[in-house]
């Protein structure tokens, strides 16, 4: 069938301003797909939104266990949405384990939609319930919608020639159909997606579409015959333009391509598979049509080295990984610093140390980015704050890397990489242009003679007649680039490498206050994915009357030149971070200010309430 429109709705729909829904199920239940499709339909409907996919490290953890639960949370509303939501209003639980894991997060009085068909003794025991939660008072504080989704899905697709196992696999789409009905969303994009995804197995596409429609029809029918209520969340008022949803990974990949085009370069990505950074490799591997070459190297070191080789030969070398992989790349990054070659290093951070929690988010590689190399080896460090911000930060990283002949560390986080939000597609005429000029003139050529403004050395690539020269990781003469053991030359080169990076502060925007005023009493300073919860908490605190502001830092090295003065203007500086105080240390050591940390390393993003509580505690009762 064709997805129907949002017209002709029952008058009983309840109007709400915002909703947080969590889809939770077994890792084989297709919860990420369900969440992504609900997101797509919600974006197309016109709501602002933020998502939080949260899945286990195991590809197929044992069925029915709590550690095998995969969840996808979406927060959408009729106003601007900045976070994926503190606590779900609605929990969709596809089995007892999913219920067990998410129950504590659910708002008291919230709604639970569960698949009764999975609540057998075995699954209940596996989930760790002492008794059947459907029969005791576990669910008393909530409104529970008990549906035998398994049975209804089997019933819906019974006329199609599928095995029971294949039929049951459609139950996530039955559930999606119901939830799309409940929030008055279209189904068209999902139907299109299914038909495309299963174009080679049309019977599977048909079964899932059938289940989707059956779930939707169930909502419509039950609404008339029972107390099942549908909701309406009005469209968000947003700027006119063409929109789409993007994940941080997509935005980052596209930003790199746009940046490379702006520089007039091809991209050579050297990468090695690692969670949660691999999707960037997958994404770029599909962009050959846009001048991207990808190289899946034999290890992390080869990945960065191939990117350095590519930059040496005149492409834009890019390497991407997560913390453990970045640690392996550090010696090579030092080589790129020493030989002054452009390179973009993307670190999609995850919880550590060591292997840590590969699928859980954290922002604990700031020290690694800023300090993590042997000797005095400075490089610019930029951090993305939202999925869509990844686009701009990627372009900016390419600009700085090529203009200043330096590796740039781009920090993103597992949470940003996987999360999606609507994005107003920029007009291509508004995209920047910063073409690279390779050195071609042999007259007076010296490999390490510098541009007086940027202190960048010339980019002279093999294949250029008359510019044959040698570079390497040994200290170089400050002009000729020949090996130099001269003491004064080493002092000079160390100084100039530092001055070059510090000078980038003149070429980046001044730090702005994201929310609040310079005259406020307290400022919350963040970086990376904490943007949403900090900003939301500060807004709420201001509504409560607290004199508090929010500063979010994109440029970590070098810091914006006005940041010190700005911070000194506040009585209190609070630095919320998903680490043990890394930006905090950097700010304290740079500006000698008495900043205080608010730290969380649970593998989960901050809740707005956690930050708001911290503000209230420090500011006392609002005046």
């Amino acid at each position: 069938m064709e997805g129907n429109t949002a017209a002709a709705r029952s008058p009983q729909r309840e109007v709400v301003e915002e909703v947080v829904i969590r889809f939770a199920g077994d890792s084989g239940d297709g919860m990420q797909v369900t969440g992504a499709q609900f997101t797509q339909e919600t974006a197309i409907f016109g709501n602002d939104l933020a998502t939080f996919p949260d899945f286990p490290a195991e590809i197929r953890a044992p069925v029915g266990t709590t550690f095998g639960v995969s969840a996808f949370q979406i927060h959408f509303g009729s106003h601007e949405v900045r976070t994926s939501g503190d606590a779900p209003d609605v929990l969709v639980a596809m089995n007892p384990a999913a219920l067990k894991v998410s129950l504590d997060d659910l708002k008291v009085g919230g709604m639970i939609v569960l698949d009764e068909g999975t609540f057998n003794r075995r699954n209940i025991a596996k989930a760790g319930f002492d008794s059947n939660p459907l029969e005791d008072d576990t669910l008393a504080p909530y409104q529970t919608l008990r549906l035998d989704i398994s049975k209804m899905t089997l019933e819906a697709v019974k006329d199609l020639d599928l095995s029971k196992k294949e039929s049951l696999r459609c139950k996530n789409f039955w559930t999606l159909g119901l939830m799309l009905w409940m929030y008055d969303r279209d189904r068209r994009a999902t139907v299109e997606w299914l038909n495309k995804k299963f174009s080679k197995r049309p019977e599977i596409a048909k079964a899932n579409v059938t289940a989707l429609n059956a779930g939707h029809a169930f909502g419509e029918t039950a609404e008339l015959s029972s107390n099942l209520v549908g909701f309406t969340v009005a469209k968000t008022d947003v700027a006119p333009g063409v929109y789409r949803t993007v994940t941080g990974t997509e935005a980052l990949a596209w930003g790199l391509v746009v940046g490379a085009r702006a520089a007039g370069l091809k991209i050579m990505l050297g990468s090695y598979p690692i969670t949660p950074a691999s999707p960037l490799l997958h994404n770029l591997a599909n962009l050959k049509a846009y001048g991207v070459t990808t190289f899946q190297a034999e290890d992390e070191i080869a990945a960065v080295c191939s990117a350095i080789g590519a930059s040496y030969a005149g492409a834009l070398g890019v390497t991407s990984s997560s913390g453990p992989g970045i640690a392996l790349k550090t010696e090579a990054i030092g080589l790129a610093i020493s030989t002054e070659l452009p390179l973009v290093i993307v670190n999609t951070q995850r919880a550590g140390p060591s292997t840590g929690l590969p699928t859980k988010t954290e922002q604990s590689d700031l020290y690694l980015a800023v300090y993590g190399r042997n000797a005095d080896a400075p490089l610019p460090v930029l951090a993305a704050s939202t999925p869509t911000d990844c686009f701009e930060v990627a372009i900016e990283s390419v600009r700085i890397a090529t203009k200043y002949m330096t590796p740039v560390m781009l920090l993103t986080e597992g949470y940003l990489a996987n999360a999606a939000e609507p994005w107003r597609i920029p007009d291509t005429d508004d995209l920047p242009s910063f073409p690279v000029k390779f050195r071609t003139d042999p007259e007076g050529f010296q490999p390490f003679a510098r541009n007086a403004d940027t202190l960048a050395r010339p980019w002279a690539i093999p294949g250029t007649p008359g510019l044959e020269h040698r570079i390497g990781g040994l200290e170089k003469d400050s002009v000729t680039g020949n090996i130099s053991y001269d003491a004064e030359n080493h002092q000079h080169m160390t100084d100039v490498r530092a001055a070059k990076i510090a000078g980038i502060a003149r070429d980046i925007p001044q730090q702005e206050i994201q929310c609040g005023e310079e005259t406020d009493v307290m400022v919350l300073v963040g970086w990376g994915s904490t943007f949403g919860p900090i900003n939301q908490a500060v807004r709420q605190a201001r509504e409560e009357g607290h004199s508090v502001a929010h500063i979010h830092i994109r440029y970590i090295v070098p810091l914006p030149s006005n940041l010190g003065d700005l911070l000194n203007g506040f009585d209190r500086v609070l630095v919320p971070e998903m680490n043990n105080g890394q930006l905090l240390t950097l700010l304290r050591s740079t500006y000698a200010i008495d900043a205080e940390g608010l730290n969380k390393v649970s593998g989960k993003p901050f809740r707005v309430s956690e930050i708001l509580d911290a503000i209230r505690t420090r500011m006392g009762d609002a005046s």
Binding site: P240, W254, S306
Partner: protein, 339 residues
């Protein structure tokens, strides 16, 4: 500058003004001279040639070549070279490495550059010792090698560069000796002309930390009996007046040394070298005195499509010029908000 991009170049045109800093008497000098002498004969252009090295004595090589040169980090030259070739497949890329650089810290990269068949030449200077760090045993040092880190002798088995290269799927494997100034150019030429990864192991004397380590092969008194110079299509003969040869031991899958005229052995019993035969190559690669001579020359050469060929094919299909508009607005998942 002397020479031009297109004119006749000489060895001098490939020499830099940098003072060569190897120890006096080091085998590296001879290899450098040979390479500088051979490049003009290959008709290469200086601006199109890149020497990439890792770390170690051999790794200083690029500073002495007036081409493009990149002295990188320990063991990683093959990975850097792969990136160079991906960015610009038209460049001639030579990797200069040593036994520690290529077979210890960089072993992984050597395996994979060979497996992928990246179109580069790898010159592996094997002196069976760590020279630049003052004489520790290396992965090619023989069992019992006494060194500062093995005062009672090494208890490890050495690795064979040529056997490793064959095992990794290398399509060109050759071996030569630093002092073989007449034979080495031919081997360098073959390596250069081979499309794909070519590995040339060069037995190189470190006169400071491992002097005469190859004298049991290279001394004039034994050379003729212990070196077998391979030629494709020619019988595997060696020794004074080609008096010895190799055959497959009857009833066993192994090579044995035989003397022509003894025990009824004639020229017809001697194996013919077929450099495209990987099985034969794997037997030749590991031959050691005293039972068998050392195989020198092109052990294996059997070209196959290169890594660059495959990459280029996919890129040609994709063309690389698609518009940003199509990237950002591609697909059917966009929607318009009216003003």
């Amino acid at each position: 500058m002397t020479g031009t991009a297109t004119g006749q170049l000489t060895a001098k045109d490939f020499t830099t003004d940098q003072e060569v800093r190897w120890c006096p008497g080091c085998g590296d000098y001879a290899i450098l001279k040979c390479v500088q002498r051979t490049l003009p004969e290959l008709g290469v252009r200086r601006e199109n040639t890149v020497f990439v090295s890792g770390i170690g004595c051999a790794a200083r090589f690029p500073y002495y070549m007036s081409t493009y040169g990149f002295h990188t980090i320990h063991g990683r030259a093959p990975a850097i070279a792969t990136g160079i070739k991906l960015a610009n497949p038209d460049l001639d890329v030579w990797i200069v490495t040593g036994d520690g650089d290529a077979l210890s810290i960089g072993g992984n990269h050597l395996i994979h550059v060979l497996r992928r068949n990246v179109d580069v030449q790898i010159l592996l200077f094997n002196n069976e010792i760590y020279g630049l760090t003052k004489g520790q045993y290396s992965p090619t040092s023989r069992r019992g090698t006494r060194s500062p880190s093995t005062p009672k002798g090494s208890v490890e088995n050495p690795i064979s560069a040529a056997a490793l290269a064959l095992g990794a799927g290398g399509r060109f494997v050759a071996r030569t000796v630093d002092t073989h100034q007449k034979r080495m150019p031919q081997i360098l030429k073959r390596a250069y002309e081979h499309r794909g990864a070519s590995l040339v192991e060069i037995l190189q004397n470190c006169n400071v930390f491992n002097d005469k380590v190859f004298s049991h092969i290279t001394d004039k008194s034994v050379a003729v009996e212990r070196q077998l110079h391979l030629e494709h299509g020619k019988p595997l003969l060696y020794g004074a007046d080609d008096s010895h040869g190799l055959r497959v031991t009857p009833g066993k899958f192994e090579l044995e040394a035989v003397t022509i005229g003894e025990n009824g052995i004639t020229q017809d019993d001697i194996l013919i070298h077929d450099e495209t035969n990987r099985t034969l190559a794997s037997l030749l690669a590991v031959m050691e005195p005293p039972a068998l001579p050392v195989a020198l020359g092109v052990i294996y050469c059997d070209p196959a499509p290169t890594y660059g060929d495959g990459v280029k094919q996919q890129e040609e299909v994709a063309d690389g010029e698609a518009s940003i508009e199509s990237l950002l607005r591609g697909g059917d998942r966009t929607w318009t908000v009216m003003g």
